[in-house]
């Protein structure tokens, strides 16, 4: 399986990439790590006339770890984010999630922005973006706008990106609560495959082990990954025992509308969601309590 014919241009700046997108519009696709786009072209599911390669734009690969936010360019490689100890200290969910993303060879090429823009409903990074409430900076030739993850994803493999826009930056909020813990878990047929269902959670506690802040979400059980801010709010103020966690987890599972496919039935996905949310909440809570 070979890709259909297309023309290639290597952009050297974000401005140039956006100008080219403006010029070619619908006929063009941005080529970042290519770990989703290239197979889709090999399967001939996509037939872009132009590929605009953004891999050689240094401005899209920056990483800035700040007190309240971790900012990165859309073309930051998954392997570099996974290895970065400063990021792991501020936004540990990213490293935890990335250990489930593909394999070493695909993470060496795959980008954070590419995974978000591809918006696979089972993919790990879009789930983390939903749970942490990441902001995405979308750049066009003559405009820049910032969307929260909750408005960016619009369906399976669908986002609010316009044909003339390029995902430029991702901003991951940092929780400054001293005792914060997080956890990511998923069930897949083989490690590194897309998840059948994935769950992620982050929890902060006070010195009495009472939850002061919570966020969690589920991927692979609907058209896009979802976070449950209202259910997470129910955990705040409590010491989290089995009953509290179970209640919230199974309410979340009940709110999902998974599909059946060749990999799993809707009922099984819903079951996995309940089990996995319980596990990640428990594990994030234990991690938060363990912070000295």
């Amino acid at each position: 399986m070979k890709a259909p014919p297309f023309e290639y241009v290597r952009a050297t700046s974000v401005e140039e990439a956006c100008a080219l997108l403006g010029q070619y519009g619908d006929g063009a696709k941005v080529l970042a790590g290519g770990q989703n786009l290239v197979p889709m072209m090999a399967f001939r599911l996509l037939h872009p006339s132009w590929l605009i390669d953004i891999n050689e734009i240094p401005a899209l690969k920056f990483v800035a770890v700040e007190t309240d936010v971790v900012r990165m360019g859309a073309c930051a490689r998954q392997c570099d984010i996974q290895r970065d100890d400063a990021i792991a200290a501020r936004a540990p969910l990213l490293r935890q999630a990335l250990s489930f993303v593909g394999h070493a060879q695909t993470r060496n090429r795959g980008t954070v922005g590419g995974s978000l823009a591809h918006a696979d409903p089972s993919a790990e990074l879009p789930l983390v973006a939903q749970v942490l409430g990441a902001s995405l900076v979308l750049r066009a030739a003559s405009s820049t706008r910032t969307l929260p993850a909750s408005s960016f994803f619009s369906g399976p493999m669908m986002t609010e990106l316009r044909p003339d826009e390029c995902l430029e930056q991702i901003h991951w909020p940092v929780w400054r609560d001293r005792k914060t813990g997080s956890s990511f878990n998923e069930i897949s047929r083989r490690h590194g495959d897309f998840a059948i269902v994935a769950a992620a959670a982050q929890i902060a506690v006070d010195d009495d082990d009472r939850c002061t802040r919570a966020a969690f979400g589920v991927g692979g059980a609907g058209p896009m990954p979802v976070a449950f801010p209202d259910l997470a709010q129910r955990l705040v103020g409590c010491r989290l025992g089995e009953d509290e966690l179970d209640d919230v987890a199974w309410d979340a599972a009940a709110a999902l509308e998974p599909d059946s496919d060749i990999h799993a039935t809707a009922a099984y996905r819903r079951h996995l969601a309940g089990v996995l949310v319980t596990r990640v909440l428990q594990s994030a809570y234990e991690a938060a309590k363990a912070v000295p």
Binding site: M1, K2, A3, P4, P5, F6, E7, Y8, R10, L31, G34, Q35, V38, P39, M41, A42, F43, L51, D53, N55, C79, G102, H103, A104, Q105, T106, N108, R109, H191, G192
Partner: protein, 163 residues
């Protein structure tokens, strides 16, 4: 439709190689069909099997998921580049032979690239780290056990050589 030819130049196994490709030529097709470096195998052509793994700027990647034009100005190492300067098999390749880490041999070039990249970054890997490093490479013959043994043996030997 006439496809544009793009001039490219890349350092392949230490030598600068230049050529002309259409945009859709994958990196692995350029290596095999244009440069006749047929050690790198083409398996699934959509990034699942790992047979086409090469090192790109020193890091293992799937060469079926890159277009040759993207290699312009970059450094590629294929399985042919793993041998010793005198043409003998490398420590890792020898270890594969000794532990019977290959049967049909189709996955072997990709396994060698993944394993060499692991040992370059981590000379004393645990068994778990070895299994993680080759988890993106499918082998339908060995059941992986001998491959894990080969990589552990190579790590041990390279450690002895270094002391």
């Amino acid at each position: 439709m006439t496809e544009t030819l793009y001039g490219i130049s890349a350092e392949v196994n230490g030598t600068v190689r230049a050529g002309q490709v259409v945009a859709r030529t994958s990196l692995v097709d350029w290596l095999r069909e244009h440069l006749h470096l047929t050690g790198t195998h083409v398996g699934c052509e959509h990034g699942v099997c790992g047979a086409c793994s090469v090192m790109f700027d020193g890091e293992p990647v799937r060469s079926c998921l890159m277009y040759a034009v993207q290699a312009n100005g970059h450094r590629v190492t294929t399985v042919e580049g793993l041998q010793r300067p005198d043409g003998q098999l490398s420590v890792l390749q020898d270890s594969f032979c000794e532990t019977h880490a290959l049967q049909c041999g189709y996955c072997t070039p990709g396994m060698l690239i993944a394993a060499q990249a692991l040992l370059d970054a981590n000379p004393r890997p645990t068994e778990h780290e070895i299994r993680e490093a080759i988890s993106g490479n499918l082998c339908r013959c060995t059941g992986y056990q001998q491959i894990v043994e080969a990589i552990a043996l190579a790590a041990q030997r390279m450690g002895e050589d270094a002391t």
